[in-house]
Amino acid sequence: MKTIADHLFDILENSVNAQANKIVVKLSFNNKIFSCQIRDNGIATNLEDVTDPFVTSRKTRKVGLGLPLLKATVEATGGYLEIVPLRKKSGTKVKFNINMNHIDARPFGDLAAVFTDALLSWPEVDFEIRIVNHKQEKKILDTVDLKKDLQTDQLNNIEIQDYIKKYLQDELIKIGINQQFGD
């Protein structure tokens, strides 16, 4: 994976594979620490040892590399990765921290494009994106609301995607997340 954006997309794909239809992503960037939390309502499979490459829920192959690769990327910067099954409702929470100041940190890449790519790839899944800045949480995208506003179920349209992408890029820049290592 070249960028954190690639990793994030990969983790979203795990959620979709686990039959999630709602994914909530929380992002923050403070003192060069990028923190990301992904909560889905998919089926939480056996979460022990998922960061072991030889553990996967897939049947076509015996290895799964998504989470082990993320773990390596995260830990190379002194950060941590945590995967927790949600007890009350079904689902999984994945949380990771990356020190963007670390010499081994990967660049962010286009995080905004991750979400528009996700809307293009999985039109049936709803996303909510929140930014946490100095303990204040702000919802910057909610596809349920957006579908209502636009009076359509189909957000996989290039005009909508461009609009969302620009909007998200602006919001991310506000907290210092650019496509490199952040401001």
């Binding site: 192959r61 790839s121 995208l141």
Partner: protein
């Protein structure tokens, strides 16, 4: 997000494009988006196809995604499914390959041998 004027404009455009969409597709482009595909740049490939479809103005072309097909060394992999024909799978489809495949195969129905991986399911 709640810039109402902008949203209204987009809404109008979307409505028009939805009205044009026949609901039935002629060609379906399936992009493999497993860990291996993502690492190999499949998102860029998918985005190029989306742009090309938008530019072509065709409303009967759709993009769909799938997971790892088990041939990770061939990623980014895509499958072109023309209605009533056998699907064709391509390997190592970077952005440039995507353009060639779009113009030759998706628009004109000719298989691009250079990137061909397999024919059939």
């Amino acid at each position: 997000m709640k810039n109402l004027e902008e949203l209204k404009k987009i809404r109008e455009k979307v409505r028009k494009s939805l009205e044009m969409r026949s609901g039935d597709f002629q060609v379906k482009i399936v992009v493999c988006l497993g860990t291996c595909g993502i690492a190999a740049g499949a998102r860029q490939t998918m985005n190029r196809f989306a742009e090309l479809i938008a530019q072509s103005g065709r409303t009967d072309l759709i993009i769909s995604t799938t997971g790892c097909a088990g041939f990770c060394e061939q990623e980014p992999m895509i499958k072109i499914q023309e209605k009533g024909k056998e699907p064709v799978t391509y390997g190592k489809v970077d952005v440039q390959a995507a353009e060639e495949i779009f113009h030759q195969h998706v628009l004109q129905g000719q298989v691009v041998n250079q990137y061909l991986f397999t024919k059939g399911e």
